[in-house]
Each structure stands twice: as structure tokens, then as C-alpha cells.
Symmetry: C2
Subunit: 352 residues, 2 copies
């Protein structure tokens, strides 16, 4: 049983490997050869009056990799209101101002636990790799320019993902803070070895791009359909980034997994998140085809160079932790990373 | 973050403490002050052709103890057929012929992980403590004799549980193997400091007892309603131990949690377990009041010395791991047990 750190994971897990593993896995999903667990959200009071405690479990088994994965999040959530809008904020309440999210992997041939590690880096990679598959299957093959809206933790992975599936001549970055977007552009230019430019507005970035990926914390739509033109592909990782009543501009919308939305309504039902099931966005999310159907050929990809396509990469799936976990395990063990703990600590000579 | 072993847990976790913690917890459950997660059963192929892999997650949060608990089972299941009956057998396929079941505890005030330990001993204690609460609330207060049918791993905890809630003059043991039941009786006599007798038949044991707890692996009913008499209490921990068409003998039936049955139908739906939702047993299990309703006074307990009562302790709940885990944590830390690992391995400075 190995313990990996986020540093271990950063050192060995590449976006390209994740995208490849996810592509195989979504094919298996479409073929019914992988199983996703129920997501369970357990919400109770916590010590802080303005907060709640959320214990969340997801899981999946991907037989191709002989891996079962469980992801557990143990979060203190607060809901600050700013300018009349309520945001959900995770409080780093563990010692040293830290957050708690863990992934545990198991071997499906022996049942044995294989690894335990924090979910932060892998979470970011999985969101990026999934957006990358959206680009791979929906964007024009000759797309050469891209824009990232956002400059945070997730935005960097989105940039890596585009660069992994398309040969870019130019990448534009926009986020409201000028210093942040400039630094972020410099970092990406070094990291991706392509020209990266900080744009002065979202509109300027979008109007120059074939592919736009939104990776913001915004509660307001971050782009206008007026800026879009035939042949573009747009990705979004957070509800609210795209105006729900402007989704009709898209000729083709693919979502991560429509069935996966249902469980999330639990959170909504408890009044923690305010979202109408009957809203235009929810109707779209419930009815659009899944990424696995796209990848397996059950639904059509882009049908012309003029289509405007969208991939709404909302709500994760347990599969992603099993698939990225399989890559991590192989690469980390090959690189001699991690702390090995005695297997006997995590197995037993009695059974329940 | 502490790692505890089954030995640590055996050394510090008492049946009395578990029963007390469960009693508080079921009151909270009835009051809506604790949350149980969805159970998720993920079943796929495994290497052995005659087996399947099952990754199972349950969880719960009990604010009284500021504890969230997740239990994960990673099992290779086979289904051998013997005399036309199919049994479910967990194969100890991990290195050293070991099984894999783990519980992880989290602090609801900080989110921090607190402990990780195997589930075997605590699973047995929780089944015992729950049966003990059934006895406490349903058996006659002047019950002085008891019978345990079974001599296995669970049977010992059932005996401890009765002894914790009633002053017994005599305990009878029956299981088919004469040597096993004799040795088990001797062990219990030493452990419980009460006279324990190995009976020559289930009927002989039952006819002499005020309280009967069944804790067998039998697929056939282990007692006949002809052996029961007014004033008795019967407990069962496994479906099939009591004849479904004889349940009408009971004046009062309490089940562990009727709502909890639903998820288990998943396993049934996959043809792994063969059980009809419309069977008399399933109808009883779906309609009978829950233990939490009994303990909180929402439904009546025994109403006369003549009633024959039953508690069907089928299907665990995540709450039990949070409640027993809270006791374990307090007692084990006070006793200096466990291996402490760095908290930073299980927390992070990024969030997902």
C-alpha cells in the first residue's frame, strides 16, 4: 500500500497519459464494461454557525485497469454572500489550514488496497483531461488558436489539455486581474512552448480563438454568444459560465454524463445550492448526450467545419479517479515515488 | 491520523460502550440529527471466472460525536453451490490470504481524517451491539435464560450483547458440530462468567430460553415457531434464519432500518442474490418499524409479558461505524494504541 503526495502526482502524471486512459475508459463505460458508484453527499451541521459539513463519496471500477477507486471529500463549506450572490467556499479547516480530499485505489483481482493519496492534483488533471477529450472529438482538426478564460488552478490544466490534442499556433489568456493574467500567460508560454498572450478583454480573447475553454470561478456568464463564430468549440467546467438562455447558439452540445446529474439534486434539495431542475440549463444537461456516447461513436461528433460545438464538463465521475489512478500507480511505482506502508495494516484475517 | 489494527480494536472496544453509543445515535437518527449516506455496490468481473469483484461504500455522519465515517469493502465474491443451494463466499484473495474491509473516520469540525482501520472486529461489535439494543428494548426485563444458535465469529458478539443488557442465569449454545459448540460454550463461560451449556439440539436450546439470538450461516430456517412460547424474544442477523412464512407468530417485529433495504435490491437486480421483493420476508422488512423508531419511543416496545417479539438485525447502517468509531477513537487514544502517521499525508494545500 503506497501513500502518494500531490508532489509525487505532479511529478509523474502527464495530461497526455490521462487523456489516453480516459479515452479507453469512456469506451468501456459506453460498452457497459465499467461501473460507476452512486455518489453520496452527507451534509450536517458543523461548529461554525455559517457553515455545514459535507462528507462526499464517489467510486468506480474499471476492469480494464483492474482498479477500483473511491474518492472521499471531507469539507467544511461556507456560503458567503457578495453583491447579492451566494458562493460556495471550502474552508481549509484542518491543521495548517488544509483541505481534505482523498482517493483510495483497490485491485479488483485480489481486493487489496494499492494506494491512498490526496485528490487535489488528480482532480485538476481529470477535469483537464476530460475537457481535452471534448476538444479532441468536437473541435475542428485544423483549429490553431485557443483562449482560456480564467487564470486559476483549473485553468492551467485546461491549457495543457488543449495543447495535448491540437497543435496550437497561439493561446490567449483572459482573466480580470491584469497582473495575474500576465504572469499566467508567461508561465504557460514556458510550460507549453507556444506563444501565449494575455488579452485585454474576454471578448478580445474569444474573438481570436478557434477553441475557448472557460475555467473560472465566475457566477456570471463569462462569454457572450455574440462573440462566437461558425466553427468554434467552447468548453465549460462550471455551471454559470455560459448563459443558460444562450445555449441555443450551439449546434451540438455534449455533457459529461447526464445520468450523473440526478444525485447532485440532493444538495439542491437541501437548499445548499439554488438551482431549478426545470431551468433551461438543467434541461440541457439532462437531455444532451454523454461524452462516453460521443467517444464510442454512439452519437455523432462535429459534422461540418461550420458547426459551433460545446462540451459542458460539469460533475465528475468516479471512473476518472480509477483511470487516472491506474496511470499514476504505474508511473509512480516505476519512478520509485511514494511511501510504502505494510499491506497487513490495510487487510485482515477476519471478514465481515 | 491513526492506523488501528483489529488487535487494537479488540483490546479497547467494549460491547457495553458500543451499545450505549448506538442508543444515543439511533435517538439522533430518529430526530433527524444524523445522516446516513447512500450505499453503493459496484460489481464487475474479476480474474476468476466463477467470481465477481464487489467494491462497496457506506458512510454516515453523527454530529453528536463530530464524526463522519466511510466504510469500504473490496471483496472477491464466489457463489459455490452445495446441495442445490447457492452461498455467497468472500475469497481472501489479498496477499497472505486476507480480506479487505476498511473504515475511515473524519472530524466534522475540521474535515481532518482521524483514523483508518480494518472493519472486521468493529463489524462484529456493531452487529452484536445492535442485537443487544433489540434485546434491551424488546425482551422481558426478567428474562434470565438465553440461547445462541451458532458458534461462529458473530455468535460470540451476540452472547456478549445479551449479557450486557440482561442478568442471565444460564446461556445455551447450539450449533451442529458437537466439538465446536462445546468449545464455544467453554469459552463463553469463561468470558461472561455465567453458566453456559452446549445443547444437543436447537430445539432443546430454544425451549429453555427466554431470549434466542440466531447467528448462523444457515440458509435454512434454524428454529421452528412450534418451539416458541409466550414472552420470548427472538433476534436474527441473517435473512433465511427465520422461516418467512412463520413470521406471523411474532406479536411485534422491529427491523434495523426498512429504508435501508432499497439499495440492497441492486445486488438482487444483478442476479447475484436471489430474493423476491414481493416475498413475505421482503414485505415484512419493508413495512416493520425501525430500531431508531423503537428506541426514540416513536413506536411501542413490548406491551405485555406474553408477547413474542422479534428483532431482525439485517443490513448494516453507516451510522454504526461512526458511533463505534467514536468510541474506538477515544478509548484507543487513551490507551496509547495505534500507529500515528503524519496528518500532512492525508490533507492538502490545494482543494478540488
Amino acid at each position: 500500500m503506497f501513500i502518494f503526495s500531490n508532489d509525487d502526482i505532479n511529478a509523474v502524471l502527464s495530461m497526455r497519459d490521462c487523456i489516453d486512459a480516459f479515452e479507453h475508459t469512456y469506451r468501456d463505460v459506453a460498452a457497459g464494461q465499467a461501473v460507476n458508484g452512486h455518489r453520496s453527499d452527507m451534509i450536517t451541521e458543523t461548529a461554525r454557525a455559517d457553515s455545514v459539513y459535507l462528507l462526499k463519496m464517489v467510486g468506480a471500477v474499471v476492469p480494464r485497469y483492474a482498479i477500483g477507486a473511491v474518492r472521499i471529500n471531507s469539507d467544511i463549506l461556507s456560503f458567503p454572500t457578495h453583491n447579492g450572490k451566494t458562493r460556495k467556499v471550502k474552508i481549509p479547516a484542518a491543521a495548517g489550514n488544509r483541505w481534505v480530499g482523498l482517493v483510495m485505489l483497490f485491485n479488483t483481482q485480489t481486493g487489496a488496497p494499492l494506494a491512498l493519496f490526496p485528490d487535489g492534483v488528480i482532480q485538476r488533471m481529470r477535469v483537464g483531461a476530460t475537457s481535452g477529450l471534448g476538444v479532441h472529438y468536437l473541435a475542428r482538426h485544423d483549429a490553431r488558436t485557443a483562449a482560456i478564460l480564467g487564470s486559476g488552478w483549473q485553468a492551467g490544466a485546461q491549457a495543457q489539455a488543449i495543447a495535448a490534442v491540437r497543435s496550437l499556433d497561439k493561446l490567449y489568456i483572459y482573466s480580470p486581474d491584469e497582473t495575474r493574467r500576465r504572469i499566467f500567460a508567461q508561465q504557460l508560454e514556458q510550460q507549453l512552448s507556444i506563444p501565449v498572450e494575455a488579452a485585454v478583454s474576454a471578448e478580445q480573447a474569444v474573438r481570436q480563438a478557434d477553441i475557448v475553454l472557460c475555467a473560472t470561478n465566475s457566477l456570471q456568464p463569462v462569454l457572450s454568444h455574440d462573440w462566437l463564430r461558425p466553427g468554434m468549440h467552447v468548453g465549460s467546467i462550471r455551471e454559470g459560465e455560459l448563459a443558460a438562455d444562450e445555449l441555443k447558439i450551439f449546434d451540438r452540445i455534449i455533457v459529461h454524463d447526464p445520468g450523473n446529474m440526478a444525485d447532485d439534486h440532493l444538495v439542491v434539495a437541501r437548499g445548499i445550492e439554488h438551482r431549478e431542475k426545470s431551468s433551461p440549463l438543467m434541461r440541457t444537461l439532462d437531455q444532451a448526450p454523454a461524452l462516453s456516447a460521443l467517444i464510442s461513436g454512439q452519437v455523432e461528433a462535429r459534422q461540418s467545419a461550420a458547426e459551433i460545438t460545446a462540451f459542458l464538463n460539469y460533475h465528475g465521475l468516479g471512473y476518472q479517479f480509477a483511470a487516472a489512478g491506474a496511470v499514476l500507480l504505474e508511473k509512480a511505482l516505476a519512478a520509485g515515488r511514494g511511501v510504502e506502508l505494510p499491506d497487513e495494516w490495510f487487510t485482515q484475517d477476519v471478514h465481515s
